[in-house]
């Protein structure tokens, strides 16, 4: 994970994300923002999973899959 890339992202509370490097903008929802925050804070996927499980009403399987999927998405956009 390239923390540097993550670090430069401008993230607003309303879900708007700006990458000054590429100039592209993105939108994310609350859950997505949460994961992004945790990633920027340097947390590993397992830790992120536990946090989400604590906070949200879901199952371990679902959260697992979704977190991985989200990270894949970030990779797709070259944000990680």
């Amino acid at each position: 994970m390239d923390k540097d890339k993550l670090a430069v992202l401008a993230v607003s509370e309303s879900g708007f994300i700006f990458d000054p490097v590429t100039g592209h903008s993105y939108t994310a929802n609350a859950t997505g923002l949460k994961i992004l925050e945790l990633l920027k804070a340097g947390k590993e996927p397992d830790e992120i999973r536990s946090v989400l499980l604590d906070e949200y009403d879901s199952t371990e399987d679902e959260v697992s899959v979704d977190v991985n999927d989200f990270i894949e998405n970030l990779k797709k956009y070259f944000l990680i």
């Binding site: 592209h24 609350a30 859950t31 997505g32 989400l52 999927d69």
Partner: protein, 450 residues
Amino acid sequence: MKKEYIKPYIRKQTAGVMNKFGVSYNKGHREEIEGFHIGDFTEKFGSPVFVLSEKVIRERYRKIYSYFSSKYPKAKMSWSYKTNYLDAVCSVLHQEGETAEVVSDFEYQKARRLGVPGKKIIYNGPYKPLESLIVAFKEGAMVNLDNFDEIIKAEEAAKKLDIKASVGIRVNMDTGVYPQWSRFGFNIENNNAFNAVKRIQHSEYLHLEGIHCHIGTFMMEPSAYKEAVKKIVQLMRRIEKEFEISISYLDFGGGFPSKNILKGTYLPPEVAIQPVENFIDAITDTLLEELEPKEYPEVYLETGRAIVDEAGWLITTVDAVKRLPDGTKSYIIDAGVNLLYTSAWYNYHVEIDREIHGAYENSIIYGPLCMNIDVVVESAFLPPLPKGTRLILSPMGAYNMTQWMQFIRYRPAVVMILEDGTVEQIRRPETLQDIVGPESVPEKLKRFQF
């Protein structure tokens, strides 16, 4: 109290390029079909499962028939078996008064077995074995001949029975649309049709009774039927005058569209597909314009798709979720293109069985087969679906349940929601015995040892 969980998403802002290949729009979700919960179907009959509605079939038929009969005095309809020949479906339409239209000896036998008398069967198709022609003539079926060799075959059959058989001919012509189905029947423009009649009338065992045509499938343009009617009426007059006979029926086949979305079209079906009434108008208005009342022959329509397509759904389950390397979301469901022959032409309407919050994205729906071509829906705009979500694909009523093939998996159950509010299985799921039943292993191959 934990917060409600919504799947995370992130999406890049783009300048909004429209996806020009028709995307399935999903408006809300579908928890039930005609009052029955999706879960009830899958619980009782498994997944996937085809669902047909008796009520919709009857309503669609009645709507079309009552419109047709209010615009032409001798209106008749015949059920196109090839569209869906499940016994239960055919029975519904026979109960409504439709005769049977078959295009092969197998379909003929199926209709007879169901209890349709020979006199109520229209026997079309380019390949009719001699034996089946003999049976058809004996039982009084309405046979439409396709080519000169078939005329000779028919003559032989009638000769064997020592009768003068009444037959019709299938014709084709330029109706102004593409493609012209010129491989079926006798062409009018190059005079083959007239010569065919000459040959038939010349025979002491055959006698021409009617003219049949079937100009295409999923037609978009009613004016094609107008052209067909005009040309056939012209031919009819010429034949009646030349041979001093009286044509008693004209059969304009089928080909009316349903609300399915053809691949390669950009507009939604509500806009792109003309209502069935326009096609019927094209036929009946032209008939009334061209004919005198005392000439009026019986006119048949062999509508299939327009009656049954929208009466069928497929319930299927999402078994796995996969994000492809290029980022596209894909789902693997338990029904493949072997069950869905029409997937080659249509972009199905996709509905989800529950409300799912989340961002919609373009997804591919794959079937369970190990073939790369097994793509059920190329592009569906869906929210993130968890494993186990049921999807309801439609319209499914036409052609899938006749052209499906058994490949590596058993074919599923077909159920019908009856008008009285019950659901009955009209075709059970296949078993191993169904498939190996016809097989036989030569003796020397039976034993093997590792």
